[in-house]
């Protein structure tokens, strides 16, 4: 079985060779005093079509058209080769017309969002695995509501059994708003734990006002608050993993449209070009 390391090495080697070939052709064109923009432009367009087909293949999910993991590898490394082609095509500089500038920005944003997506899909799953059991994204609201109900029940129980309102008051002021919806998503994403720590400290601070039964209830609430934080963590990670595509995909449609117009314009104004 090919390991991921071996596969990465092989794919980088192929990509390197492709890049070398493209640069060599570019140099040969330069030496022969020919404009390479038409050649690298069309190769770039072919690469872009190949990249766009990836999403189509994703939808044709039961057809025997090579495994999706192979397609993704092709998508990633073709994207890198296309970036080189794009930079050669634009002479490593920002174009001067407003239309071309928009196209340039679209392409670079598209490429960067793709690279960010690759990075997210490599690093975030590790972080989710490191923090407890994987939860299905669509079930998170259900589980969060269950935790909120359990904590509310515990707060009510504390009033009945300890004849004290400390926990119930804390629930109304602090916990109920915390449990209502996902919280501190950015904090979870960047690895911050401060709000969570502050909440746990605040919970432990209540101990001094409680009897034995009250403390038992508080420990249970503390555990449930941790479970809620874990759910928020999962929500933040999974939401990020799902939502970057909503940025990457629409850009693709815009980019393809602008590219087609660009090709038409180039040929419309290319009379007399070699």
């Amino acid at each position: 079985m090919t390991t991921f390391g071996q596969r990465r090495l092989r794919n980088w080697a192929i990509t390197g060779m492709m890049a070398g070939l493209i640069v060599a052709i570019e140099l040969l064109y330069d030496m022969s005093l020919r404009d390479a923009a038409f050649l690298n432009g069309w190769i770039l367009f072919a690469g872009m079509v190949l990249l766009a087909i990836f999403n189509l293949r994703k939808k044709l999910n039961i057809l025997p058209l090579v495994r999706m993991s192979t397609w993704l590898q092709l998508h990633i490394y073709t994207g890198l080769v296309c970036l080189l082609l794009f930079l050669l095509h634009t002479d490593f500089s920002l174009p001067n017309g407003p239309f071309e500038i928009i196209l340039w920005i679209l392409y670079m944003t598209m490429t960067i969002s793709g690279l960010v997506g690759v990075a997210l899909s490599r690093f975030l799953p590790h972080r989710i695995s490191a923090r407890g059991e994987r939860v299905i994204f669509e079930r998170i609201p259900v589980l969060r509501a269950q935790i909120a109900r359990d904590i509310e029940d515990l707060a009510m129980t504390s009033v009945k059994e300890t004849r004290a309102s400390t926990i119930a008051d804390f629930y109304v002021q602090e916990l109920a708003p915390y449990l209502r919806r996902p919280k501190h998503l950015i904090g979870h994403l960047i690895g911050g734990t401060r709000p969570e720590r502050r909440l746990h400290v605040a919970i432990r601070e209540l101990e001094r006002y409680l009897d034995e039964r009250g403390r038992q209830i508080l420990v249970e609430i503390d555990h449930l608050v941790s479970a809620k934080a874990d759910l928020d963590y999962q929500y933040a990670m999974q939401l990020t993993l799902k939502s970057w595509l909503f940025f990457h995909l629409p850009l693709n449609y815009g980019l393809m449209l602008f590219t087609l117009v660009h090709i038409v314009l180039v040929y419309a104004f290319a009379t007399g070009a070699p």
Partner: protein, 572 residues
């Protein structure tokens, strides 16, 4: 949404095994076959009479001379009793055995798959209601009616080439596969034109439950056939003279450990690795005197060793593997102590043969080339695999081994493993599964987890599929190559299989007609439900859609018997 169609609730015998089985056939069978004629019919309730069982769960089949009746290596679920004629059981491998490479499923073509994709409905679980309404099964889906018969031209030449056993009227065969949910151990060919009664598992199970005489007879034959066939099958005993083999067979014990229907006990166990291990029946204890070599015939054994006050799991043995040979070899070669260096426990249900140590030393070991025997006593090999390979402890972390053993994931031949370090929860696998299966995925992307390994709730197509045991109609069954599938038309929605599955991998779904409206019971108006589960995309051209759809190489289907692939995949 309106309720558009009501049908009678499906019943057990709506679709008998042979619709043309007549009352006269039943009486003829009872009159002719002693094994059935001797049964006291008074033991059967009026709702489940012996005659009804035979009429619905049995059929009379006729084979012409030279036709293959059952093939070694195929899974089967029926007992065969010869009514007339002679058959030959081939005692060794032959050209007529099932081929492990053969794809027995008819897969869709590319364009048919494209059409299936294009025609996906917007509501899930749509069915053609007409197939439930007509009483007959002319849709080619009835069990055991698929496939063409294979035949041999010169049976005499075959008999001279391969050792055989002749079976005549009243003799039975096929019971080993039916009772042990394992493949047939031999191929059986019609030597003359023959007539046999085929009694499928559901009928066999009900008769066995009620009649002690029948049960004892079948079980005795099961043990006898299984013992000899398994000895012949094991690479250790190949090449032994028939007399020596007979001698060994006479002194070999056939043992059964654990519960045949182990699902309930397993479900009751808390997820506590220590409790799980101690709940498993001990077959051989670490340090015990080794009185015999253990050959696993069916099921799984947990290999463990004592560590201070507990037991450490080091691996497992399964079909056709042996346990204790290393100690016997060391004793035979270097006069080492004959004490077990590891213990063995039954995981679920285990059939095994115990071959006396003295006979192994006298007959078996001198017959094996020295290079095939284990190395010096210091080497760590603990078991011999089916292909005569010595294997060491599983090179996995202890916690991973415990996880796989305690969750009995080792039962899977197509367990869905998800590497959560790579899974981005994109659900492409779920969508692909839904596209392939009536717009409703056949698995849940969730399940027991250990570190970065998740075993998702998808049918594992178990080596020992306990879900099959209770099915009243045979709707859930094994294909010849071992896939566990559900025949939707035959399923009556009783949920017995879903309740029996130890891993909760079978789901009951409410079905709809082709307009998307629910199909209901015409009497109670309650929705008609059907059991559904992963069928490993057996009709799809490229195999499991989930695995092909995963862009991140996070998901795979693994046969846990293939330990090398398991270790490779986990260590990618």
């Amino acid at each position: 949404m309106s309720i558009s169609v009501a049908i009678p609730r499906p019943q057990r015998w709506d679709r008998p095994l042979a619709p043309d089985m007549t009352e006269g056939d039943v009486l003829r069978v009872l009159f002719t076959l002693r094994v059935l004629g001797a049964i006291d019919q008074g033991q059967f309730p009026s709702t489940l009479s012996l005659q009804d069982i035979i009429r619905n769960d049995a059929r009379i089949r006729r084979y012409r001379r030279g036709e293959v009746i059952i093939r070694r290596g195929d899974y089967g679920n029926a007992l065969f009793v010869i009514i007339s004629g002679v058959v030959r059981e081939l005692l060794e491998q032959s050209d007529f055995d099932a081929s492990s490479d053969a794809d027995v499923h008819e897969r869709r073509g590319f364009f048919e798959t494209a059409r299936q994709w294009w025609r996906q409905a917007d509501t899930p679980e749509r069915r053609d209601v007409s197939v439930y309404q007509d009483g007959h099964d002319d849709h080619g889906l009835a069990l055991g009616r698929r496939g063409e018969r294979e035949s041999i031209q010169s049976i005499e030449a075959l008999i001279t080439r391969v050792p055989t056993r002749m079976l005549t009227e009243q003799d039975m065969f096929g019971e080993v596969a039916a009772l042990s949910r394992a493949p047939h151990l031999s191929t059986v060919i019609a030597e003359t034109d023959v007539e046999v009664l085929e009694l499928r598992w559901q009928g066999l199970r009900d008769i066995r439950r009620r009649d002690k005489g029948f049960r004892d007879k079948i079980d005795a034959q099961y043990r006898a056939s299984s013992l000899k066939a398994h000895l012949r099958e094991s690479p250790l005993f190949q090449g032994l003279h028939e007399t020596a083999l007979e001698h060994i067979a006479r002194h070999t014990l056939f043992e059964t450990h654990g519960e045949f229907e182990w699902s309930g006990d397993f479900k009751n166990l808390a997820d506590d690795s220590i409790d799980v291990l101690y709940s498993e029946p001990v077959i051989a204890e670490h340090g015990d005197y080794l009185d015999g070599l253990l050959l696993i015939r069916y099921g799984f054994g947990r290999i463990s060793e004592r560590l201070d006050h507990g037991h450490r799991t080091v691996g497992y043995v399964t079909h056709n593997e042996v346990f204790g040979l290393r100690e016997i070899v060391d004793h035979w070669r270097d006069d080492h102590d004959l004490r077990l260096r590891h213990g063995l426990r039954a995981v679920g249900f285990v059939d095994l043969l115990r071959v006396p140590t003295a006979l192994v030393e006298d007959y078996v070991l001198p017959n094996i080339p020295p290079h095939k025997l284990p190395g010096p006593p210091s080497s760590t090999s603990i078991r011999m695999s089916a292909d005569f390979k010595w294997e060491a402890e599983l090179p996995l972390e202890q916690a991973t081994i415990n996880f796989l053993m305690n969750n009995r994931t080792i039962n899977g031949t197509a367990a869905m493993f998800i590497d959560t370090d790579r899974c981005t929860a994109c659900d492409d696998c779920v969508r692909a599964c839904a596209s392939a299966h009536n717009n409703n995925p056949r698995f849940v992307r969730h399940g027991p987890e250990h570190d970065n390994l998740m075993v998702a709730n998808a049918c594992m197509h178990c080596v020992d599929p306990v879900c099959l045991i209770g099915c009243p109609t045979g709707a859930i069954h094994r294909t010849k190559d071992g896939l566990v599938i559900i025949d939707d038309i035959t399923c009556i929605g009783c949920a017995t299989c879903a309740d029996s599955c130890p891993y909760d991998n079978i789901r009951m779904v409410e079905i709809r007609d082709d307009k998307g409206d629910f199909i209901v019971d015409q009497e109670t108006q309650a929705p008609i439900v059907k059991a559904t589960k992963c069928d490993l995309c057996l009709e799809q051209p490229g195999g499991p859609a989930c695995q092909r759809a995963c862009p991140h190489d996070a998901l795979t289907r693994i046969d846990l018997r293939d330990r090398e692939r398991l270790v490779d995949w986990l260590g990618r």
